[in-house]
Symmetry: D2
Subunit: 387 residues, 4 copies
């Protein structure tokens, strides 16, 4: 657990980071929601602020005056009903509150939080909530990047976000197969550092021996799969995957475009030539699985990944695993409102391990369990093979 002083530092840095990420946007970019799982940037900025006001200031800062009791509820995750007036709506339809209002709201809450963390010596309980709040906002920072990419990358004008953000880290080293011996291993979060509830419940796992690649699959390798007809061979795909690629006419990773017979990739720096040496990204679990079938190999389980990860580089792509997202053997759902955080998603999702180019500082660790539905592609996903 961090000291109050360190936590204050983490809080300040986290709040500033969210605003820095959005500093490259036009006002209009904050507003739209092109698909359901992408949220408007202004909602991310408001929601992460509401979290601190709702769970910290309201509870632990006596006499705290709400910034605006009539408005903040729109930043709850579920805000369908308010008092007697019920309006069904969704995030992408809301032009109000404005972006300027949200920045004022942020400033107000940030200031009050700094006051709280500076003036008083707080108990462990509030400190813990502040820490969760910071990590919660860091999760939303990753979503900010990927949602912004979706918003700009699906605009027919292909506007760029900025020139600095680097999506594609080249792996300039040789392929090697890292061997792990059969045996009983320990899985789960061990240290006192922050982690989510779903990483807890340290437990033993029996692993058969396996070999895992030190490199992620690249754009060039994935292009071979496309050119070999991988998207057309029903035997490589799960039954649900096959329906999905037919219905959505999927035949390449997201953000790939064939323009005048040459392959382009939309990145946060704009539309660029596809780099065959960069790790492939924006692929679904289904596509990662089909590629592995085609190679006669498979994806790692999350436990295999966790045990092997010390021996390879990771951190530029969230890596799909074969593991369905389930509770660890000793999983205990936390009490109270924060208890909803992870457990309720433990069905029909696949675990991803690692971190990505969009992951915030201090927000990646080897036991982190990310999870998405198997068809989703808007994150910086990737994969490595096991044989």
């Amino acid at each position: 657990m961090l000291s109050q002083q360190d936590l204050l530092q983490l809080f300040k840095e986290t709040r500033a980071d969210s605003e820095r990420i959005c500093s490259f946007l036009e006002t209009e970019d904050y507003v739209v929601q092109p698909v359901e799982n992408v949220s408007p940037p202004k909602w991310h900025l408001g929601h992460t602020t509401w979290f601190f006001e709702e769970f910290v200031l309201k509870k632990y800062s006596p006499g705290h005056e709400l910034y605006d009791k009539n408005t903040a509820y729109v930043f709850n995750s579920y805000y369908e009903s308010v008092g007697e007036k019920v309006i069904r709506t969704n995030r992408g339809n809301l032009s109000r509150p404005t972006v300027a209002w949200i920045y004022e709201f942020r400033k107000y809450v940030t200031t009050k939080m700094i006051d709280l963390l500076t003036r008083n010596k707080l108990d462990q309980e509030p400190l813990k909530v502040v820490e969760i709040g910071c990590h919660h906002e860091k999760q939303h920072q990753e979503l900010l990047y990927t949602d912004i990419k979706y918003i700009l990358g699906n605009n027919p004008l292909s506007p760029k976000y900025n020139d600095e953000f680097k999506e594609n880290r080249i792996q300039d080293f040789e392929r090697e197969w890292i061997t792990v011996e059969e045996g009983v291993y320990e899985i789960g979060h061990k240290s006192d550092d922050f982690c989510y509830d779903n990483e807890l419940g340290l437990h033993k796992k029996y692993l058969c021996g396996f070999s895992i690649s030190n490199k992620l699959v690249t754009n060039g390798e994935f292009l071979e799969f496309i050119e070999a007809g991988g998207y057309k061979d029903v035997l490589l795909w799960h039954a649900e995957a096959w329906d999905w690629i037919q219905q959505n006419e999927i035949n390449k990773p997201a953000y790939w475009h064939k323009v005048n017979n040459s392959w382009k990739q939309y990145t946060l720096n704009g539309l660029q030539d596809l780099n065959p040496d960069a790790p492939v990204t924006h692929i679904s679990y289904y596509e990662a699985f089909a590629f592995a079938q085609w190679k006669g190999m498979r994806l790692p389980t999350e436990e295999e990944w966790e045990i092997a990860q010390e021996k390879f580089e990771w951190g530029s792509r969230w890596e799909w695993t074969e593991s369905a997202y389930s509770p660890y053997p000793n999983y205990k759902k936390p009490e109270g409102a924060l208890g909803e955080y992870n457990g309720k998603f433990m069905v029909n999702q696949k675990v991803l391990r690692g971190a990505s180019v969009a992951t915030s500082r201090h927000h990646s660790r080897s036991t982190y369990r990310n999870f998405f539905h198997p068809q989703l592609r808007w994150q910086f996903t990737g994969f490595r093979l096991v044989k």
Copy 2:
């Protein structure tokens, strides 16, 4: 047909009006599209400008340089494919081009148009297209009001548009039944003034005798219908209407809210007490029809309305008629791109006659044929009864 000088005046006034309507908006309000038939205000501003550049300047202003050939296409009504790069999208997902960009685009095109109309003596053909362009923009001005109302009125914060716009004109006169004798009447546009293709084809119509109310149905009368269980009596409704009210849980006009047991109505001035004397609005054809059934009366046909209209006040509500939208007996679809304008909508729609509080100056006339699907309610619709 207007003189070139008058047309220049009409053009200037029209362009200014669109911008004045939007002057009360925040940037965010220009962007969202909460339902399919509501367009973002920025799209209206861009589309009406694109119209003048595409159909006037490109054709009749030699050497005209396009403001931005890579961007303007998004303001075409159908812009799904562009060259080899195809991106499916819709208007409410587009954060770019920005509002500022669109105002620059407007300024450029407006200036070029004024130059053209000032410096040269133009032929009838371009003048005619300019006139259509002005009326086209006036139609979009009406849509701007109703789309803005939808955007703000479906926001849970119920923000107001401004304090000036008056939606509800009280009819402070007694109900009278205006009688029209059986006989042959002439229907359609007669003068040389501007009208749309669908009003042309002056023709004779045999009308049976009828009596029509000099007053629109009011909120108070409609409330009686609600309280008498009108929304629950299947015998009052068309079969398709019944399905529609069940599936959408329709039990009151749009923008009505029951708050703490008293009826409120969202207006462009914000949420207000329902005025029982104001003409009811934001009702579908289905609801107008069911109300008439309940009263043992009926809606007028469009020809009955056209013949009787001289004897009553109209202009605050678009009035539903019983008439399906069909071509007049001598209808000729215009040649070329503008030929698509009206004919292709002549199925499954009902005619509305009159004009509304949102109709632009110089844009209402007794022969005007508006049309919408029978379930739509976002316009300032209303109705009067015939017996």
Copy 3:
């Protein structure tokens, strides 16, 4: 109005006809419902029988014992809720009651009806309901043919219904254009013979002069339209029609198949070569309209058709008109349960005039107003042109 004796004859003939139509079916053919607007033949047989028991025997035959009070309700048109046990279902899911049960039910009700019509001298009121019941069953006979065609014609084995039913009557006469003079005409049902409520309200109509073809459009002519790219020219189509043909990949009339490069048509006699001289059928209003646009002509209104029909042959195809289905000027909705019969469908439908090869004996007349949604094709529809 028919005498009781003649009505008895009509009743017997009608009941026998329904069973004769079904005599060519296998038990399995009675059960399925491939699309929503096609009902299983066993439902038609049960529903027409339920009508006589519910509206005649229950009311006018004192002491009538219901055949089975627990079962017959499934033959009501709307049977979603029964007592406290509510089961949502639809007609094509119901394997029970069995076909054998339904024939027993028919026999019981037919016998009781014959008793009633034979033994007593009935008042006008019950006689009128019996007459409506017979015409109601005749309507279902037409639907039996077209629903059976749908069921068999959409089976990949293309089974035939029988060898006798003749769908395609060749028009072996020359094309002529019949001229009707401008003037006031009388529209609506005049005689004392049976008609539906929607034909009543004799009224005057002013018609402009027009010329109408004495021949229906043929398969050969429609093939020219296809080969000229008619299905690909957006300018020929209503906006809603264009969406419909895109979404449903419509590019030919229903039941047409191109097999080994030659055109076949599924008929009730099985799959056959397309006869270019037969009148085209199973086309939607949208397709009829687009064809007329392509020819530079139009469809007749229902009044034009009614006035001109004495001068041409009709009766093998229901003919699409340009008229939307609306009440006649003096239309009065009948009182009571039978009042729902026609009025509630008077929106979003187009009128068809004439009759078809599937129309029952004594069930066609020049004032008959049939109506369907503009995209429907499973009836024996056709059309003729006006210029």
Copy 4:
């Protein structure tokens, strides 16, 4: 592996069983398909027969003459396209081939198979396919029971199947908690007896210690959950489960009806009083999970179930586990067409262990891995708790 003689016996018994199950049906019951995952009984009878003709007779019986080359393809699982004539359809729309045809087809194929198995000494390869074919047909026998229950139980007349089939075996013994010690266990199929590919790959699994109930959860216990508001407490449910119960208005197990304030259950013997001591059935994984949450317990993993199962009675309900359906560590997808059998379903499904009252003789074993989507309820599902 069975001897050829034993296999012949298994084959005969299996073929006879399918027909005995259907002997209680009316012809109409064979035809309908009320929901997508329920197949018409006639399809099951045809499909299992097609399997033997396609994979055994065609390959291993030289000179075999197909019963009907134009028809049998409709019993392939995927029969959308045939030669050049493509008709989209689904199983429940097909009235042909008839039930009588299918029984003739069965007789022909059964006779030819018996000839083959009687006259020749066959190799291991064909014998293996025959064995799979028998087990394949046994799987369809279970589906026959549950599909028939769906067809009859969703008919508003609640017809019974027969009087003999016993759904509800009472567990007349006390609740006990069986303890399993922490340690490494062996998982997977061991013997030479028949099993599916997904059970192979014997491997070690580390289990933490746990206690599992010797009894299935009963109707009475589940009723307590309902009465305690279990279906209304969002905290008990997965996020996707909550959406599912809202959208489908789920508030009780399938086939339960509250009639005149008392609970009834539709069974294959007709509608009966709910027996509180019978094990609950026709519940989804979501409901089993929510019940366990409510009790503060959990469902077993499939490995826990497999290790503990020797110590409790099972076989009347398929039992939901917490395990997602994934490949075993050493899973190898079989070569060829039969390789599609299991692997392609290994995503988004939960494993069920045990067997049910509908499971065929010789078709249950402790390593059998059944799997369904978490919302499905038409099987005889149940569950037991772990703490």
